[in-house]
C-alpha cells in the first residue's frame, strides 16, 4: 500500500520514450569520449606509478623516470614490509577502526540529517550551525586538549578514542553531504507515509533510509578514505604497536636520517588495494537512485 503510493509520488510526471539522438551530436560525442577517457587515464596513472615505485630501490626511484621499469622487480620490498613491523596487525586494526567509524558516522549522520531537514522543531537552525562550524575546526588545534580529555576518561591507547574522534570530526562533512539530498526528497513521500499511519521510525527506516542509499554510500566512501589514511590521531592517541593502524606502517620506513622508499611504496600499495576494492564494490550502489530505492524499500 505504502509502496504503490510512493511510486506514484515519485513518478508523478508521465514517462515517455526518448527521441533518437541527432546525427550532428555523434561527432561531438566522439570528441567528448576521447577527452573523458584521457582524463580517466590520467587519474589511473598514479596506481601504475605506485606499483612501479613499490618495486624499485632507492637509487632507481630517484634516478629513473617515474614510469620506467626497474632493472628487475624488487619484490623483496614486499617481503621486507611483511617481516619488519606488524603489518597484519595494523591491517586488522585499520579495517576494524575504519568499518566501525564509517558505520557509526553514516548512521548518526542519517538520523541527524533526517531530523534537521524533515522534522519541525525550534532549534533546527542553531543545531545545524553547530555541525557546520564543527567542520571548520582544524584537527591540529584541538589535538592537545583532546589528548587530555581521552587521558582523563582512560581512552588513551584504546581504539575507541580513534572511533569516537573519527566519527565526531567526520559528522559535519557527512551531514553536509547528506543535507542537499534530504532537502531534495519530495515532501509527498512523507505525507503519503504518515497518512498511511506510519510512525516516524517506520518512515525513517523503511522509506527514507532506502531512498538515500546513494548518498549514504557516497558518504561512506568519503569517510572510509579519510579514516583509512588518517595518522595524526593514531600517532597521538595510540601508543602500543598492537593497536596501531596501517598508516603507521609507512612511518616504519621513515628513518632518522634516511628513508626506505621502496618499502614505503610497498606499504602504500598494500594499504591502497583494500580501500580500492571496497570503493569499487561500494560505488556500484550509488547508481541506484531515488526510484530504485523507493521500490525496494
Amino acid at each position: 500500500m505504502i509502496k504503490t503510493r510512493l511510486i506514484m509520488a515519485a513518478t508523478s510526471v508521465v514517462f515517455v520514450n526518448r527521441t533518437a539522438p541527432r546525427l550532428g551530436s555523434k561527432i561531438g560525442r566522439g570528441i567528448l569520449y576521447i577527452i573523458l577517457i584521457a582524463a580517466a587515464i590520467v587519474q589511473l596513472l598514479p596506481l601504475v606509478w605506485l606499483l612501479l615505485f613499490s618495486l624499485k630501490n632507492n637509487q632507481e626511484i630517484f634516478n629513473l623516470p617515474p614510469f620506467a621499469l626497474p632493472e628487475r622487480f624488487r619484490w623483496e620490498n614486499y617481503s621486507n614490509v611483511w617481516s619488519h613491523g606488524k603489518i597484519d596487525t595494523y591491517f586488522v586494526n585499520s579495517v576494524m577502526v575504519t568499518a566501525l567509524s564509517v558505520l557509526l558516522t553514516v548512521l548518526l549522520a542519517s538520523f541527524a540529517t533526517f531530523a534537521l531537514t524533515r522534522m519541525n522543531w525550534k532549534w533546527r537552525a542553531p543545531v545545524l550551525g553547530l555541525f557546520m562550524v564543527g567542520y571548520m575546526i582544524p584537527i591540529h588545534s584541538a589535538l592537545i586538549p583532546l589528548f587530555i580529555l581521552f587521558r582523563n576518561i582512560q581512552l588513551i591507547d584504546n581504539p575507541l578514542s580513534l572511533i569516537l574522534s573519527y566519527t565526531a570530526f567526520n559528522l559535519p562533512i557527512t551531514i553536509m553531504i547528506m543535507l542537499g539530498f534530504y532537502y531534495a526528497l519530495p515532501r509527498e513521500i512523507e505525507e503519503a507515509a504518515v497518512m498511511d499511519g506510519c510512525s516516524v521510525h517506520q518512515l525513517f527506516f523503511q522509506i527514507i533510509l532506502p531512498m538515500t542509499t546513494s548518498v549514504m554510500v557516497t558518504a561512506a566512501i568519503i569517510n572510509m578514505i579519510y579514516n583509512w589514511n588518517e595518522f595524526v590521531f593514531v600517532n597521538t592517541f595510540i601508543s602500543s604497536d598492537a593497536r596501531k593502524t596501517l598508516t603507521v606502517g609507512v612511518q616504519n620506513f621513515v628513518g632518522q636520517y634516511s628513508m626506505d622508499w621502496g618499502a614505503i611504496g610497498a606499504t602504500l600499495m598494500i594499504s591502497t588495494i583494500p580501500v580500492l576494492l571496497a570503493y569499487f564494490i561500494m560505488s556500484n550502489r550509488i547508481v541506484e537512485g531515488i526510484a530504485a530505492g523507493s521500490v525496494k524499500g
Binding site: N57, N58, Q59, I61, F62, N63, N80, V81, H84, G85, V92, M96, A99, L100, L103, L143, I144, F147, I148, R151, N152, I153, Q154, L155, I156, D157, N158, P159, L160, I163, F231, N235, T236, S239, S240, D241, A242, R243, Q251, N252, F253, V254, G255, Q256, Y257, S258, M259, D260, W261, A263
Partner: protein, 453 residues
C-alpha cells in the same frame, strides 16, 4: 537476507574486537593506586604510576628508530632492553617507536599534558630548553659524576647542561664533512680544496663540464644551514656563533659576510638546479647516483659509503671526505667542525620510578657505546676504543678527525630556542633562494633571537 547476516557477523566481530581491546587495557592496569588515569601497560602515557602486586615496575621508553628504516638501531635498543630486563627481573620496559617527525610532535603533546614517558630521547640545547625550564627532565649529574664518569667524549654533554646541571646524556656524536666523489674529481683533474678559492675553482670547472658541483636540498633548510655555518666559522673563528646565540646578538660583521658568501655560491650555480625546492632525500639521491660531485652531510651518512649492503661497492670505493677549506683572512681553524651530539636520553622528572629509569639510562649508555659503531655505524658520544673493534677506514678517519678537532660548533638550529630556530630555517631558505639580502637576513635573525623564545 544473506547480506544482512554477513553484516551482523561483521558488526559482532568488530564489537568483540573493541571489547577485547578495552578488556586488555583494563587488565594491565590492575593494582594501580587509582590516583591517575592510567590504562594499558604498553602505554607510555600512563607515566608508569602502576606497580603490580609483585613489586614489578614498568618503565615506558620512547625512541625514534623504527624497525623498518633504522633496523640496526632498533635491534640494538631491543637487545639492550632485553638484557636489562633479564638482569633486573622486577623491571619491565615497554617501548614505543615513532619516526623522527612524529616523535617530536608526540613529545610535545605528551609534555603539554604532563604525560612524558619515563625515559625518552631529546635533542640538545634550544630544543630541550623549554622542557628543562618546565621541570620536565630529571637531573642526571649523579650518573655523570658516578658510574659514567670519564666515559663521554669531552664537551659532548655540554649541550645538555643548563646552569651546571645535566638533563640528558647523548648517545650520538656527529661532525659534518664534505663527502666527494673521487672518480669525478679525478676525471677533471681536481684535488681536495685547501682554500675557499680552490673550492670555487672546483665548482667552476665542474660547471664548465656540465657536472653538478654540490648536492644540496634546500627545502630541508638545516642542510643549507651547514654551509652558512662553515662560512661563519671559517671567517669568524671558534666562538662566533656560540656567542651570537648565547648573547642573543646576531650582528657580528662575520655573520653578515658569511651570508654574502653563501649567496656567492648560489650565484655560481654551485648547487643543484631548483635546490631550494628539493628535499635532502632528493639531493642525496643525486650524489648517490653520481650526478653531483660533493655533498655536505653529517657523519651519519657514512654507512652508505661503507657498510650498507644495498649500495654497490663500486660506488662506495669512490667516496671520500674533506674538511671545509679555510678562507683568506678568516680566523677559523680548518679543524673546526660543524656538528655535535644528536639525540640524548632523558628521564622524566614526573616518573614514579626515577631510580630504575636512571639505572636503565646508565646501562643503555654503556651498552650502546660498546656496540653502536660496529653494529649500527653510529658514532656514540662515549669514547670508542678503535683498537677493540674492527671498523671501515672511513670511520677510523672520522674518529681521528674528531680527536683532532679544535672546536665543534653545535648546529645553529639546535643551539637556538624553538621560535628562533624555526625562523632560522625560513631565513636560511630565503637567503639561499636570494629572496632576502644578507642585511635583511642578519636583521631578522637578530630580531627573533632577541625575542628570547
Amino acid at each position: 537476507m544473506k547480506r544482512k547476516t554477513l553484516a551482523f557477523m561483521l558488526l559482532f566481530a568488530a564489537l568483540t574486537w573493541v571489547l577485547a581491546a578495552c578488556g586488555g587495557s583494563g587488565k594491565d592496569s590492575g593494582g594501580g593506586n587509582g590516583s591517575g588515569p592510567e590504562n594499558s601497560g604498553a602505554s607510555s602515557e600512563a607515566s608508569s604510576r602502576e606497580t603490580s602486586p609483585g613489586g614489578e615496575v614498568t618503565l615506558n621508553l620512547m625512541h625514534l628508530w623504527p624497525e623498518g628504516s633504522n633496523f640496526a638501531q632498533y635491534k640494538i635498543v631491543s637487545s639492550i632492553v632485553e638484557q636489562f630486563q633479564q638482569e633486573n627481573e622486577n623491571i619491565k620496559i615497554s617501548v614505543e617507536v615513532l619516526d623522527n617527525e612524529q616523535y617530536k610532535d608526540k613529545l610535545k603533546v605528551l609534555s603539554a599534558s604532563n604525560s612524558l614517558p619515563d625515559i625518552g630521547f631529546t635533542w640538545a640545547a634550544g630544543f630541550m630548553e623549554p622542557y628543562v625550564k618546565g621541570n620536565e627532565f630529571a637531573p642526571l649529574n649523579d650518573l655523570l659524576e658516578g658510574e659514567l664518569k670519564g666515559q663521554f667524549v669531552a664537551g659532548t654533554t655540554e649541550g645538555y647542561t643548563f646552569d651546571g646541571t645535566t638533563y640528558a646524556l647523548p648517545v650520538e656524536l656527529n661532525i659534518v664533512p664534505v663527502f666527494y666523489n673521487k672518480a669525478i674529481f679525478a676525471e677533471y683533474g681536481l684535488e681536495v680544496p685547501k682554500t675557499y678559492e680552490d673550492l670555487k675553482e672546483i665548482i667552476q670547472t665542474l660547471n664548465n663540464n656540465g657536472v653538478n658541483p654540490v648536492a644540496l636540498g634546500g627545502k630541508d633548510a638545516w642542510t643549507a644551514s651547514f654551509w652558512y655555518m662553515y662560512f661563519a666559522d671559517r671567517l669568524g673563528g671558534d666562538n662566533l656563533m656560540d656567542e651570537a646565540v648565547a648573547n642573543e646578538d646576531f650582528t657580528a660583521p662575520e655573520l653578515r659576510e658569511a651570508a654574502v658568501y653563501a649567496q656567492e655560491l648560489v650565484d655560481m650555480n654551485a648547487f643543484l638546479k631548483g635546490f631550494v625546492g628539493l628535499s635532502n632525500e632528493e639531493a642525496k639521491a643525486e650524489f648517490m647516483n653520481e650526478n653531483a660531485a660533493m655533498y655536505m652531510m653529517g657523519a651519519w651518512e657514512v654507512p652508505n659509503y661503507t657498510t650498507n649492503p644495498d649500495v654497490p661497492q663500486e660506488f662506495k670505493d669512490k667516496i671520500g671526505f674533506f674538511k671545509f677549506p679555510v678562507m683568506e683572512d678568516g680566523r677559523g681553524n680548518v679543524n673546526n667542525w660543524v656538528g655535535g651530539p644528536g639525540v640524548g636520553l632523558f628521564v622524566s622528572e614526573n616518573s614514579k620510578h626515577k631510580e630504575e629509569a636512571k639505572k636503565f639510562v646508565s646501562y643503555f649508555v654503556q651498552k650502546w657505546g660498546e656496540i653502536s659503531v660496529s653494529e649500527a655505524g653510529v658514532i656514540p658520544a662515549t669514547k670508542v676504543d678503535t683498537n677493540a673493534v674492527s671498523l671501515p677506514q672511513m670511520y677510523i678517519d672520522l674518529l681521528n678527525e674528531l680527536n683532532n678537532a679544535n672546536k665543534v660548533t653545535l648546529y645553529l638550529d639546535v643551539q637556538m630556542k624553538p621560535v628562533a630556530s624555526e625562523e632560522h630555517h625560513n631565513l636560511i631558505q630565503a637567503l639561499f633562494s636570494k629572496d632576502i639580502t644578507p642585511d635583511e637576513f642578519i636583521s631578522r635573525q637578530d630580531a627573533v633571537l632577541k625575542e628570547g623564545k
